[in-house]
Amino acid sequence: MAAAALAGIGLRAGHVEELLERKPPIGWLEVHSENYFVAGGALRAQLERVRADYPLSLHGVGLSLGGSDPLDAAHVASLATLVRRCEPLFVSEHLAWGSHDGGHFNDLLPLPYTAEALAHMVNRVDALQESLGRTVLIENISSYLQFNCSSIPEWEFLAELAGRTGCGLLLDVNNVYVNSRNHGFDPLRFIEALPADAIREIHLAGHSTQHVAGQDLLVDTHDAPVCEAVWELFAATTRRFGARHTLVEWDASLPALDVLLGEADRALAIQAAHHVVAV
């Protein structure tokens, strides 16, 4: 695929009508799967219209893949229905958990990186891929704490998960940067450690900085432009892996559609300048 088709944006409710009206030349779009867990109505009709004009990918945020409750069969069934209807480019979820004992936090909570958690994630990703009858992509998350019991570096955990399940990886470069700052590691080390053939998609987003106890804590707020350091890391990522489908996400304080399209253009320009061999 030509690099020109590889930049996309996360489609949010506030932009849908304008996008359908203008039909800007963007390579693809991604939506949050759960937003379209609807039986019918205008939202469902709107997604059909979007899908008619753009390749679409489905990004889940609520499955609690890493949770210790049984995998939510109703949630998986809703996702499977949506996948059948949308025939998406990619289906992705997170290396995270979000519920316990039936109670959901509707957030991406970090896992301990242990052999036990890895075995658990392997089972869950296997089960999800089996249910959907396709490969899924798993995304690395931003985190604001580390567990004492973690014994495997995050990048090794991801590489091992991909190796054991055959899942793809959705590499969120902003999350790598956020974690490198929050937990003190070299982000390039993270990037270098991942298996190139597992990387199918890249996310870029903005974050914010909170000052806690005299220290900076970076929080993945998706409410700002991609920062310069993350653009630089994206360039390094592109040199390492070649051009991959790259998505700019913006969820809160949603800017004008053109601002988001401008960020996607910048991602395209970096891909064009830095990728050596498009895979």
Binding site: E34, G41, G103, F105, N106, L145, C149, V212, Q215
Partner: protein
């Protein structure tokens, strides 16, 4: 019990109850920021996400109660009704009853019915699609069998009745029709029909007799029974007109087979 299960149980408990957060400190690498401060980021995400989801589903309640009230009110709600789904849309189900109980016996008692109307609207928005009942299906029924007809409501049809002017309150606050007008709470009851028009969802006020007619048909009563109820409310009730309007509005999707269909 696995250590993953135990860790997640303790994490969940520490998020729900900040007094439990200190006890979770031994599981977290301090690295300059203590466990309570790190957990606070997640607790804030959880509560803000829930608040935004409920504000999206209940914009009139958020506007009427004010943001300063709404956010802590949602935290109270989460304590009583934790989210049971990875789909945040489901969070709103128990909210109207929670609002009703909170404001019962206060001058803001009407808020429970506004919340019920907002949730009915949310349900209708995402209900199954179905082709509306065509008028010629009724026209094809022999005249003698018409009184016994029963109708299947369209999945996107909802009926809401309140002793307060709930439609007027909702419309002004949901769609920000802020013309500065004050709504008199004692202006009386309002009945609302929510219905589908193609993929779109509409809402309109109903006259009391019209509402009784629709509510009877919605509950599965025959056309004759629905007519009797509506006529008892208003002797001038025009059943032909009311039925034509309901069919035009897509209130029904089929004739019930135990009728004449």
């Amino acid at each position: 019990m696995s250590s993953l299960f135990e860790l997640q149980a303790r994490f969940a408990a520490a998020l729900r109850d900040d007094t439990a957060a200190a006890g979770f400190g031994d599981a977290i690498l301090a690295a300059g920021i203590d466990a309570a401060d790190r957990l606070a980021v997640y607790r804030n995400n959880w509560q803000v996400n829930a608040t935004q989801a409920l504000a999206l589903a209940f914009p009139a309640i958020e506007r009427l109660t004010g943001r300063g009230f709404f956010a802590p009110f949602v935290r109270e709600f989460l304590g009583a009704h934790p989210s049971r789904s990875g789909d945040l849309r489901a969070l709103g189900g128990p909210f109207p009853d929670f609002v009703a109980r909170r404001f019962s016996g206060t001058p803001h008692e009407y808020l429970g019915d506004v919340a019920a109307l907002e949730w009915a609207w949310q349900e209708a928005l995402v209900a199954h699609d179905a082709a509306p009942l065509a008028a010629d299906r009724i026209a094809a029924v022999p005249a003698g069998e018409v009184p016994a007809l029963r109708f299947r409501a369209h999945p996107g049809t909802r009926l809401v009745s309140s002793p307060w002017p709930v439609f007027t309150i909702w419309r002004h606050n949901r769609f920000a029709e802020d013309d500065g007008a004050l709504i008199q709470l004692d202006r009386g009851a309002e009945q609302v029909l929510i219905h589908r028009s193609g993929p779109g969802t509409m809402a309109r006020l109903c006259e009391p007799a019209d509402y009784r007619f629709l509510a009877a048909l919605y509950a599965g009563r025959s056309l004759a029974e629905a007519y009797d109820r509506a006529s008892a409310t208003a002797s001038t009730f025009d059943v032909g007109l009311a039925l034509r309007q309901a069919v035009t509005d897509g209130v029904f999707c089929a004739l019930e087979p135990d009728g004449t269909d």
